[in-house]
């Protein structure tokens, strides 16, 4: 039934790291290989590298062969996937498709981004070029102003409050204090979040995910081979993507994200589940308002009630669907290419009960991972199951 399985994982500490991107790759690779007894690196026949923008962040192209070099791999299938903030999840999808097609038996996925290398204005420029440079970038646009306008409209149309947005940040920063790999290790009060520096009104610094260095690796193989490596895999049950161009104004109504609903419907259809079957979810909380709209667009709550959903604690432990138990992008940071892979690591470790008890969703059967890219007009979902 499942098309592929995630069977092993490795993470680096995420943060402002005193290490190059290649050293982060080595750390994540070591952590993965150290965690699997029955894995010979000669058995890895495919390598998929998720990296969003190494050409700009560290002035390096052709990164996939360099990852092979760092890890001592001689893959017969090798490529890098780029989908901005969703590059890591795309690497997992590429790996799973190759495994399902019989092109690869054992594939390694490496997500990595080194964002703290250049001066900050250059890093901001590197991120802004995700937008359409000639029409949106030229106006001085980048992610924070776009999501600020999304927040303003959501408040305007549905009465969503700044306090509700701050609750997303508070929850995810709380979760990240349970995650030793996370960039941010501190709790923040609602007052502190609301009172932090204004980045783009109404959003403050603690509404925004961090600029982070990090790497994450997973091993992907067939459901048949999974047992060779682990007693408990995370089985890939379905995928969905939706896209509506790239221009900032393409969504029409920026409070509704139709490509995300399309992605979710496709993912639920291929996995033969519905939103009511989800036990936990990794949602792309690049900004607090994003997570609120994502509750709505993937069907966890009715349109306009995302603020109420967080306020009722439905996305916290003990709620309907705990979201971002590893700390999300807000708490762990957002090394673009590593983020989607880091989410998969959380799913595997949740199923294996390798995460601390206080954030372990015990008995969970089904999980959803979501990333968005660009001005929320491209969305990407993977559904995982405990059983094949």
């Amino acid at each position: 039934m499942a098309m592929a399985a995630v069977v092993a994982a490795g993470l680096t500490r995420w943060g402002v790291r005193k290490a190059t991107w290649k050293e982060l790759v080595q750390e994540a690779g070591k952590a993965l290989f150290d965690s699997v007894e029955n894995l010979d690196r000669k058995d890895v026949d495919a390598l998929f590298v998720g990296a969003a923008d190494p050409e700009r962040f560290v002035f390096q192209a052709h990164t996939a062969p360099m990852v092979a070099e760092q890890l001592g791999l001689s893959p017969r299938t090798i490529m890098r996937t780029e989908m901005a903030c969703a590059s890591g999840q795309m690497a997992i999808k590429a790996a799973a498709a190759h495994v399902a097609a019989g092109v690869s038996e054992v594939a390694l996925v490496m997500g990595v981004e080194k964002m703290n290398a250049a001066p900050m204005a250059e890093s901001q420029t590197s991120m802004a070029c995700v937008l359409d440079r000639e029409w949106d970038g030229v106006q001085g646009g980048s992610a924070p102003p776009f999501f600020a306008m999304v927040a303003q409209r959501h408040m305007h149309e549905y009465g969503t409050t700044r306090e509700q947005m701050a609750m997303v940040s508070q929850k995810n920063h709380h979760f990240s204090t349970t995650n030793p790999y996370a960039h941010f290790q501190k709790e923040f009060s609602i007052e502190r979040i609301l009172g932090s520096l204004v980045v783009a009104p109404p959003l403050t610094l603690l509404d925004c995910s961090g600029i982070t260095d990090g790497a994450a690796a997973v091993l992907v193989t067939s459901p048949e081979r999974a047992r060779d490596f682990t007693d408990q895999a995370a089985y890939i049950k379905g995928f969905g993507q939706g896209v509506q161009g790239n221009n900032v104004t393409n969504l029409g109504d920026i409070t509704k994200w139709p490509p995300l609903t399309m992605a979710a419907e496709e993912a639920y259809r291929t996995a033969r589940i519905g939103p009511e079957d989800l036990d936990f979810a990794e949602l792309h909380d690049c900004f607090t308002i994003s997570e609120i709209i994502e509750y709505e667009a993937i069907g966890l709550c009715p349109r306009g009630e995302g603020g109420k959903y967080i306020e009722e604690g439905q996305s916290d432990m003990g709620g309907k669907v705990p979201c971002n138990t590893r700390g999300g992008l807000l708490g762990t940071g957002h090394p673009l290419g590593a983020t989607g892979v880091g989410q998969a690591v959380e799913v595997l470790w949740q199923f294996q009960s390798k995460v601390p008890e206080e954030r372990n969703v015990t008995g969970a059967e089904v999980a959803l991972c979501h990333n968005l890219s660009g001005a929320a007009n491209a969305h990407h979902i993977t559904i995982y199951g405990r059983d094949a």
Binding site: E122, Q124, T125, Q139, P144, A200, L205, N247, T249
Partner: protein, 151 residues
Amino acid sequence: MVEKDCVPFILDFLPQEGPDDTRIHRFYDHLREGRLTTTRCSSCGEILWQPRVVCPHCNADTMEWIDLPKEGTIYAHTAMVLGAPLGFENDLPFVIAIVRLDMGDHGHMLLFTRVDDAKYEDLAIGDKLWFKTYDCGDGRVFFRFTATAPD
């Protein structure tokens, strides 16, 4: 080609605007004439934003230029306060908006734009804004909107 001394070519968000650079150079010529324009497909009649050379709906490659409304209303707005890209740091803080243009029989259109002559807190959803041609100071132009009504 236009030389700009503040940032290297590859980090410059402003497009190259001349006939040797782009097939939609008339968009920029029109801005210099005080007109905000885009292309309409001569075959299927769809209004395309941004200007195109091939219609994504019917594959035709014959376009005509049409004028867009010179005033619109704020659909959403914010300001860039922290974290501007290279070349924009000296402008901080600056207002950014999505402007709603009434297109008559064609419904409405949204434009992403810089807004001059107002602070973030002076503006609200629904306020009127007016198109203006912005002189980039290096021979290039772009469009912006202003909160000040024209005379």
